[in-house]
Amino acid sequence: MKRQFLFDGRPVPFDEGQTILQAARAAGHYIPHLCWHPDFPPHGSCKLCTVKVGGRHVSSCAFPAREGMEVESDTPEINAERRALLQMLFVEGNHFCPGCEKSGNCQLQALAYDLEMTTPRFPHFYPDRPVDASHPDVLLDFNRCIFCELCVRASREVDGKNVFALGGRGLGKHLVVNAETGRLADTTLAADDLAANICPVGVILKKRVGFAVPIGERTYDAEPIHVHAMERDT
């Protein structure tokens, strides 16, 4: 018999080496996440995938599944904590959705919808982060970076280019472009690189395609992220 654990009271089978998030997904249960991606090792930075195991909070994207464990995920308590994390992400950047090309296709926003976040609640930081429009095909709007490192991992591990990095710590953390000038135009990034297409929010944007799909017809206008992510494997 396959080994299993309990996920919100339901048995979920798992293979040795699978994380809670992987096993839960394979069994058809969605766990909210932002920095996890099926093609990369877990990063464990956003904490949206937090679940409770035996009274302790753990990141389900990084925590190995174990026989007999009892995992709580879709509970009012955990979802309230996830909402608070989203609210912090919103106030730490400049997220003005109505003016953002990613609106409707953005995972941060879609999770906010799913978790019924109607307000960012905390005082806003309104940081000063100028954009980089130097590249002919790709725009960088640092105001929206949530430091998930997906672009960093994609560029390093798939594109083999190392275009992006994260620099600084705490409040000073920021996305870095690996060029002597610090400008995107002075890297080898191409518009069809995975790094240019993986950002879950509106930082790395293709030029000349913004707002092509009207509001109301975009990805998460059509279906919530918990449905979309399970169908599309992202």
Partner: protein, 190 residues
């Protein structure tokens, strides 16, 4: 002639009083309120409007519900917002600007003095013009703030603007005494 029954004699329940205001916003949320179309008659049967651009009353009295559109960008906004908070039992932040400062807050990482100079002094065709300083003009704040950073807010109705349907669902819940809740299709930040 028969006497009216006790049922018929009972007075109409007092209608809820609603006030609305626009701070640093574009009036889009008020336009969206009008987008509830003919349902406005149903609403009018249940509520009375106090201070609002729709009534042109300048100061609100005691109200049940206050709907505020727009963020806080100057001293007058602070004043109006505080008056609303004092008078309204339930205060609702309506739309992106009231909730996170919205478009006006995109000046927040800039120096407000430099902004004013840029707009009134350095633009082509404005030679000799200065930053307006009429005492009638409310003093600008250095940052545009969401309203919950100034007063306590009871509910938030997101959208830029929230659709007529979202406003209708929200108000129907509130007027009926339910906790307002938007279904997924009406939850929009844009």
């Amino acid at each position: 002639m028969t006497e009216p029954s006790a049922q018929e004699k009972r007075p109409e329940p007092a209608r809820l009083r609603i006030a609305t205001a626009s701070l640093a916003g574009c009036f889009g949320c008020h336009m969206s309120l009008l987008d509830i179309d003919e349902r406005i008659f149903e609403l009018a049967a249940k509520v009375e409007f106090d201070r609002s651009p729709l009534t042109d009353i300048k100061h609100c009295g005691p109200c049940d519900i206050g709907l505020i559109e727009g963020g806080v960008c100057n001293a007058e906004n602070v004043h109006v917002l505080r008056e609303f908070r004092r008078n309204c039992k339930t205060l609702v932040a309506v739309g992106a600007c009231a909730i996170n400062g919205g478009l006006p807050a995109q000046r927040n990482h800039l120096d407000v003095g430099a902004c004013l100079q840029e707009v009134y002094c350095y633009r082509e065709g404005l030679d000799g013009a200065g930053v307006p300083d009429d005492p009638e003009l409310p003093l600008l704040l250095d940052k545009v703030r969401p309203i919950h950073e100034v007063v306590r807010v009871d509910y938030f109705l997101p959208g830029c603007p929230p659709s007529g349907d979202a406003i209708w669902k929200f108000l129907s819940d509130l007027v009926a005494g339910r906790t307002p809740r938007l279904p997924y299709a009406l939850m929009h930040f844009d």
